[in-house]
């Protein structure tokens, strides 16, 4: 029995980070209607930045976030300006493959710079744990979980209670009407995309004391993130959080009972089942994903 609780708990904790990665992706899709296939590479970049700050300068990952997250925000602004905005009105194939080629570009840039060696941030507190009854709980994982959920909650509050947040939601609902009421839609797009990158940057910082990084780390994570975003409903923040936690738990159980490689198989099959049966996800709005077919 204990083992089930332990598995559920560890799944839930890592699910928090998955949720944070996916929140950025779903936000960008919800507003720009673009799936950023290079989203995972921003995670990798953030992890490398955190690693080098820790390794070379000795800055703790949680402190490094003060620099890493704004850097990712700026990187997001740049990407939006150079690659996303010019292709927003382009044919769908251009949109998909520009971000895919960007992913390939960044992956190989990181590979050229840092080789494919795994690098690990080894903090002194990584193994610190406390005990509740028969369960061992890592302080670090609890902290990561709490910060991840706090950031996702913070984003939801930002979208709900600030002027900028309202403008972003208005643009997501109807870009033309948003423009009519005087919202600078181009600027909203830029900020939203950058916000998505900053969020995945924060996820990268949180992930770095837990996972080793190499140029392909983000590409592996992004596939999980697609499953989560579609399961939660494209564009739904709450959906991404719930699905993120759910996938974390599912992964933890299948990883324990079926082994590391098969756990991937489980969530890809789950993904296809969701797409087949409920492509608008748990909390997504209908209409974005399915066409009337004949």
């Amino acid at each position: 029995m204990d083992i089930y609780v332990q598995l559920a708990l560890s799944g839930l904790f890592i699910g928090g980070v998955y949720a944070l990665i996916s929140v950025g992706l779903t936000l960008v899709f919800g507003v720009l209607r673009v799936v950023n296939f290079a989203h995972g590479e921003y995670l990798t970049i953030a992890m490398y930045l955190t690693y080098f700050m820790f390794q070379r300068v000795g800055i703790d990952p949680f402190v490094a976030s003060i620099a890493v997250v704004p850097l990712l925000f700026v990187l997001g602004l740049l990407t939006e300006r150079l690659l996303i905005r010019p292709t927003l009105e382009a044919p769908h194939v251009v949109q998909v493959f520009v971000t895919f080629a960007l992913s390939l570009f960044l992956q190989n840039l990181l590979l050229t710079l840092f080789t494919s060696d795994f690098r690990t941030v080894r903090t002194s507190y990584a193994t610190a744990a406390f005990q509740i009854g028969p369960l061992y709980v890592s302080w670090l994982r609890v902290a990561v979980f709490v910060v991840a959920l706090a950031l996702a909650g913070g984003l939801a509050a930002f979208l709900k209670y600030t002027y900028m947040g309202s403008a972003i939601r208005a643009t997501a609902q109807d870009r033309r009407s948003a423009r009519l009421v005087g919202i600078n839609v181009d600027w909203i797009y830029a900020v939203t995309f950058a916000l998505g990158c900053a969020l995945v940057g924060a996820a990268g910082v949180l992930l770095s004391p837990l996972y080793p990084v190499n140029p392909y780390t983000g590409a592996d994570m992004i596939l999980i993130s697609f499953v989560i975003v579609v399961l939660g409903g494209m564009g739904s923040i709450a959906g991404a959080v719930i699905a993120g936690l759910l996938i974390g738990v599912v992964e933890s159980f299948t990883g324990y009972f079926a082994g590391g490689e098969l756990k991937q198989l489980v969530y890809f099959v789950l993904f296809m089942v969701v797409l087949a049966l409920r492509p608008n996800g748990l909390l997504g709005r209908k209409g974005a994903e399915v066409m009337d077919v004949t």
Binding site: T87, A90, F97, N108, T112, V230, M272, A288
Partner: protein, 324 residues
């Protein structure tokens, strides 16, 4: 210029004759190997283009079909002694059946959702191939013993494969032209350009799209079998990796999506770039070739979203118009 059928046939025939002469001109083993790979990729990209280009169904799971072709023929050959000449058809049938099932589930998904579902399909097949060790040899793959015999599609002279690959290119090109000029082709393009308008015209695109998807999967599967016979070795990463799916798509996009010659142009361009990069940069820095490749793709997508083939075509046409 007259518009007789003969003059329309002349450029492709001249083009293919030039391609056939290439291995004889550049007979260096390194270049012949590069050419073989270029032709094989061109054939695979042509197969991808049938569904991805004409119907606009941007699949990133086609490597799964390529891999199924490679594995089915190889497993049948190694375990049952069935010649790959027969095995490649069986592989194509397996791929086509998989494609029909996948298509039935995913063809109603829009744009990026379809892309993601094919990504997931590719990953499922890839992971399965790694884990079904009894059949596939797992991650280390399967080796085919080198016993040259034309009946088993194994040749000691590697240049034979160059011409087999070129033959595939020509056959797939002809199939593409025939489909593009048929009612099916127009139906697919109508769907790609405007789904609702196509429906309003009474075109039932779903069976067409699933059919072409299955044909595309079957054809690319045959390329997979040839790949296995050429390298005499199959492993999940080299015949099913996501990079492979991406390459088939990018070659068609760089050359000219939804044109019959585009994938061939794209595959040759990509191969030339990669040969030049390898010669001048060597392999000392892994990733640099792919880095340049990705940069070129981004530039092409931004500057010439229709691909380089149509861009050149339009340029030549304008030049011709000025002259007359």
């Amino acid at each position: 210029m007259t518009n007789s059928p003969l003059s329309a046939l002349l450029p492709p025939i001249a083009g293919f004759a030039a391609l056939a002469a290439l291995p004889l001109v550049f007979s260096d083993a390194f270049l012949v190997a590069a050419l073989t790979l270029a032709f094989l990729s061109a054939a695979a990209s042509l197969a991808w283009n049938l569904s991805g280009g004409y119907a606009g169904q941007l699949s990133l799971g086609h490597a799964a079909f390529y891999g199924i072709g490679a594995y089915v023929s190889t497993i049948l050959f190694l375990k049952a002694g069935i010649s790959p000449l027969i095995g490649m058809w069986l592989g194509a049938i397996v791929s086509a059946i998989c494609a029909v099932f996948l298509g039935a589930v995913t063809m109603r998904l829009k744009g990026s959702f379809f892309v993601m579902s094919t990504l997931a399909f590719g990953a499922v097949v890839h992971i399965s191939a790694i884990n079904l060790r009894d059949f596939t040899g797992g991650a280390s793959g399967l080796a085919i013993p080198l016993r040259p015999n034309p009946a088993n599609l194994i040749f000691a002279d590697k240049m034979v494969y160059t011409y087999i690959a070129l033959a595939l290119v020509i056959v797939f090109y002809v199939i593409t032209r025939l489909i593009a000029a048929s009612k099916v082709g127009y139906g697919l393009v109508a769907f790609r350009e405007n789904h609702d308008a196509a429906r309003a015209l009474g075109i039932r695109t779903l069976p067409l799209r699933i059919g072409v998807f299955a044909l595309s999967a079957g054809l690319i599967s045959i390329c997979g079998t040839v790949h296995a016979q050429y390298y005499l070795y199959v492993d999940p990463d080299s015949v099913m990796g996501l990079n492979l799916s991406l390459n088939f798509a990018l070659m068609a996009i760089v050359g000219g999506l939804g044109t019959a010659y585009g994938p061939i142009v794209g595959a040759l361009l990509v191969s030339i770039v990669s040969v030049v990069m390898q010669v001048y940069l060597g392999d000392q820095i892994s990733g640099l070739t792919q880095l340049a490749y990705a940069a070129i793709v981004i530039l092409v997508l931004m500057a010439a979203p229709n691909g380089l083939g149509p861009l050149t075509h339009a340029f030549l046409k304008r030049r011709a118009a000025w002259r007359s």
